[in-house]
């Protein structure tokens, strides 16, 4: 894919000009081109293998306080004109949105050089290279233990280029690449079936740790034999980064999104400034930080990114806002607009949990009666207004007793309130070398985590 910033800008400007002629008072347009490919593994073969090529234009029109939007997958000017006409037409029949104040105006960006966001390796990756890496991870996993039965997972990469323009002068352009490998490896010994998982994310396909990911996932599967059922109750817990990161998606969605707060869903309602978590818990969002895997310097409405503290020493500090939700609370956007085909929600996409100075070995040795959890499956809020979440363990969970990993355990369900289980933290580790999760999260040891049911 060749970059074509000028073409995207030209299409965007065409939308603004057309909308103005037709009576729009404010207009925002996002023009994007995406190429992606994904090779899916199952039963130690390539089972699915796909490539996509998209061009999309999302137009949001305001006529006074009346709003209409269109999302189209076309790039020719006649179709674009029709999409703008449709957006104007539906905006004019819309009732006033009393909460709408304005689209964001132009502000300076802390730009990131395009060469830091885009990898040529990723752009040039071929189906044959994905197949070679697939074969390598399959062979690597099977070489770890002869009980490895099946390698599943995905190897993917993509490139996206976008411009966001609005009639108040916002003009933002970036291009990004991504690459991912995630493997779920199944093992069997005739009596039991076990599983292990690991993943890596990078902008550069060439920097993915394919071999290590295959080895770690295979070892987890091999070390999963001899599973025992344990009773549901409170345990100490050591959560690997992917486990905590998975929970953070739901904690942030149901807690720190200003939209959820304003709609009385968030468990942080009336808790800003309150100490809700352990003083060791620090959570922030920073899309500009070089340590985050997928950096960006503006959000989906072209508002500049900056660092925002969400939790400082256990105290709730801020919510994630976009222009619309910020306008309702008489605040400024924090640059967290996320949009998808007409729907939008502020969300912190680049979260960090503050590191400590511990490590996995120390955490295990400090655990008397606890669990070591790789990651979770099917997280969900049970009661978002109280911050109660549930999920099941998956792909490697072990019992820790008197400072030693003793045996693997069968699938467990936790059901617990985030303010309770993050209310006390024993130890925090450092960020892992391999980015198994997209958030920057260390391993964490908690003194109490509520297991609500087990699978016998």
């Amino acid at each position: 894919m060749n970059f074509d910033k000028e073409m995207l800008l030209e299409k965007g400007r065409f939308v603004l000009k057309t909308a103005e002629k037709l009576g729009a008072t404010q207009t925002e347009v996002t023009v994007g081109i995406q190429n992606s490919a994904l090779t899916r593994l199952a039963n130690s073969i390539i089972d699915q293998n796909v490539a996509e090529h998209h061009a999309t234009i999302q137009t949001i029109i305001y006529v006074g306080k009346k709003k209409g939007s269109t999302y189209v997958e076309v790039i020719d000017n006649d179709s674009i004109r029709k999409a703008v006409e449709n957006a104007i037409k539906i905006a004019k029949m819309s009732p006033d949105d009393k909460d709408f104040q304005s689209l964001p105006g132009a502000l300076p960006y802390n730009s990131i050089p395009i060469e830091d966001l885009v990898s040529k390796n990723t752009m040039n990756t071929t189906p044959e290279q994905r197949a070679e890496h697939a074969k390598m991870v399959i062979d690597t996993a099977h070489s770890v233990d002869d009980r490895i039965k099946a390698v599943a997972g995905a190897i993917s990469h993509g490139i996206g280029e976008r411009v966001i323009l609005n009639s108040l002068g916002v003009e933002a352009y970036d291009a990004r690449t991504y690459a991912n490998v995630n493997l779920t490896i199944l093992a069997e010994d005739g009596k039991e079936q076990t599983a292990g998982w690991y993943a890596d994310n990078n902008t550069d396909f060439g920097k993915l740790h394919f071999k290590e990911v295959a080895e770690i996932a295979a070892r987890k599967a091999a070390e999963g034999f001899g599973m025992k059922a344990i009773e549901p109750r409170d345990y100490e817990v050591v959560l690997e980064p992917a486990a905590l990161s998975g929970l953070l998606v739901y904690i942030a969605y149901f807690g720190f999104s200003a939209l959820m707060y304003q709609e009385y869903i968030s468990f942080l309602r009336d808790k800003i400034g309150t100490k809700l978590f352990s003083e060791k818990f620090n959570l922030w969002d920073d899309a500009l930080d070089e340590r985050t895997t997928f950096r960006t310097f503006f959000d989906d409405e072209g508002f500049p990114k900056s660092k925002i503290d969400l939790v400082e020493n256990g105290i709730i500090k801020n919510l994630a806002y976009d222009s619309y939700t910020a306008g309702r609370d008489n605040k400024l956007s924090t640059g967290h607009h996320n949009k998808e085909e007409g729907h939008s929600l502020p969300f912190p996409n680049n979260m960090f949990v503050g590191e400590g100075d511990s490590n996995l070995n120390e955490m295990i040795s400090e655990t008397k009666d606890g669990l070591l959890i790789t990651h979770f499956h099917y997280q969900n809020a049970v009661n978002p207004t109280e911050g109660i979440f549930t999920a099941l363990t998956r792909d490697g969970t072990w019992k820790i007793e008197k400072g030693e990993v003793k045996y693997p355990v069968r699938t467990l369900r936790f059901t617990d309130a985030a303010p309770r289980f993050l209310g006390r933290i024993d130890l925090l580790g450092t960020y892992p070398k391999i980015n198994a999760s997209t958030f920057k999260v260390p391993t964490i040891k908690l003194p109490s985590f509520r297991i609500s049911s087990i699978q016998k």
Binding site: A37, I46, S69, E73, A87, A154, N380, S453
Partner: protein
């Protein structure tokens, strides 16, 4: 379009494909959401594109693009074959499909009122009125939402086997939701007729009108306000009754997903998971009580899983999954049916847009109607808890250990509906739970439609449906969250 589809097939075969199909799809999706009297979403999506699926050197390839012209079709056809050949390098056995007739046909969803011909003002007017009535019904109302959606998919399927199928699928529907709060009490939400943006059907605008959202608005507020002062749902083993708008998700998660044959065969192992319903258990596993009959049926009128042909060109059909409690069948594709030695596919393959590979997706997965009337079933219950309207769901990767929460529950004492409970939850293990079903209704049986089922890598969101009434289960764990957060 026939010239374009033939061009694609010719290029694929010329590049060495032993099988090739192409889907050309245009999607129109009208989405309206009103929140607190304001337009939150008023959006029209139009997506056009194509996807080419090939088998070459025994491997499967797929590529798609938004750009529908001859040079792009040639490029994508070649890429699809190249990807298939790369895939073939790791295969131990070449992909094989079961035989299905190559059909030339047209199918159009029957409807009375075309939702895309109804003025948008009329849709907004209904939503605004429902929203207004909710806001005016109580000063405790903090959040209101009214939703409408109409979806249309025009698709052409052609294959080198000679199939050429034109289809137009249309669905329409909506729902309302209200959140109330007062002082330090926990906010409560009620959604009607179902949560997560309502209920949908492959019908026209007449279905949205039939939902009567304006008439439901006061009821939603009344129940939400009652929930503010309601007691916490009791906990313990007890008799559980599930309303249709929760029972449908129970069927979805604990029978729909585990009988998808691609999951069973390991294709989804890395993401959605596998299944406890393995092939050695077909005809042996007592999945449920004798009253449990579950089918996959894409021929029923109005279901979101209703169509003429799936995205492999296989005609709509009915397949038994559970018969009198016994596990008897799977939802399948041409490839997975061949692996298992089945004669036919269940016509389960669908993709959520042109550029996504078709996967086995639920059609209308139905708990077949029972013998009871709703009033009789309630009157027959000495003590039980009736749960309604899904709020939370979670199930493990083999689809055994589930936990659900609903918006509201009613206590049933001596055959009469009594007080309301808040925050109801229940949990169980799939076969234990379905074996505990001792009654299912027929008079309130209907097909519920949900357009929100996620699956696959890259992720796809499909529209599916479930026909259910109200069912009763004995000795279920209710009230899991009683002490959480303390």
């Amino acid at each position: 379009m026939k010239d374009l589809t033939q061009k694609a097939i010719d290029v694929c075969v010329g590049e060495g494909a032993s099988y090739a199909d192409i889907r050309i799809v245009t999607i129109m999706d009208e989405d309206i959401t009103i929140k607190r009297g304001n337009i939150d979403v008023l959006n029209l999506t139009t997506r056009t594109g194509f996807g080419i699926r090939t088998i070459a050197n025994g491997g499967l390839g797929f590529a798609g693009s938004y750009l529908l012209n001859t040079p792009e079709i040639e490029r994508v056809a070649k890429l699809s074959v190249r990807i298939a050949k790369a895939s073939g390098k790791t295969r131990k056995k070449p992909i094989r499909f079961v035989d299905e007739p190559a059909v030339e046909d047209t199918y159009i969803t029957p409807f009375k009122k075309d939702p895309f011909s109804i003025p948008t003002e009329d849709k907004i007017s209904i939503l605004m009125e429902a929203d207004k009535r909710m806001r005016e019904a109580s000063d405790k109302v903090k959040m209101t939402q009214s939703d409408y959606r109409a979806f249309r998919e025009d698709k052409i399927f052609a294959s080198n086997e000679g199939a050429f199928i034109n289809q137009q699928i249309t669905f329409c529907g909506g729902g309302i939701s209200v959140t109330v709060a007062e002082g330090g009490k926990q906010p409560q939400t009620r959604s009607l007729p179902a949560s997560f943006r309502g209920d949908y059907s492959t019908q026209g605008f007449e279905y949205f009108e039939k939902l009567n959202l304006i008439d439901l608005s006061e009821k939603s507020v009344d129940e939400a306000v009652q929930l503010l002062d309601a007691k916490q749902c009791p906990s313990g083993k007890m008799t559980l009754l599930l309303d249709g708008n929760q029972l449908m998700l129970q069927v979805h998660e604990s029978c729909g997903h585990p009988t998808e044959l691609d999951r069973v065969l390991g294709t989804e192992a890395a993401y959605a998971g596998t299944s406890f319903m393995t092939p050695d258990l077909v005809g042996k596993l007592k999945y449920g009580s004798d009253l449990v009959n579950i089918t996959a049926d894409s021929t029923l009128h109005g279901g979101l899983g209703t169509f003429g042909y799936d995205d492999e060109g296989v005609s709509a059909r009915r397949t038994e999954l559970i018969k009198e409690g016994l596990f008897v069948g799977y939802q399948s594709s041409r490839e997975t049916a061949a692996i298992l030695g089945l004669e036919r596919s269940s016509a389960g393959m669908r993709a959520d847009n042109a550029q996504h590979l078709p996967l086995i997706r639920m059609v209308n997965i139905n708990l077949e109607p029972g013998d009871w009337n709703r009033d009789e079933l309630i009157a027959d219950t000495k003590y039980g808890i009736l749960l309604s309207t899904n709020k939370s769901w979670s199930i493990d990767d083999k689809r055994l250990n589930f936990q659900f929460g609903t918006e509201i529950a009613w206590e049933i004492v001596n055959g009469e509906i009594g007080q309301i409970f808040k925050n109801p939850t229940y949990a169980g293990i799939t076969p234990e739970f379905w074996n505990a079903m001792d009654a299912h209704t027929k008079d309130d049986w209907r097909i519920w439609g949900t357009p929100n089922c996620g699956k696959g890598q890259p992720g796809q969101v499909m529209y599916v449906a479930h026909g259910v009434g109200m069912a009763r289960f004995q000795n279920v764990d209710v009230g899991i969250t009683k002490e959480e957060g303390k």
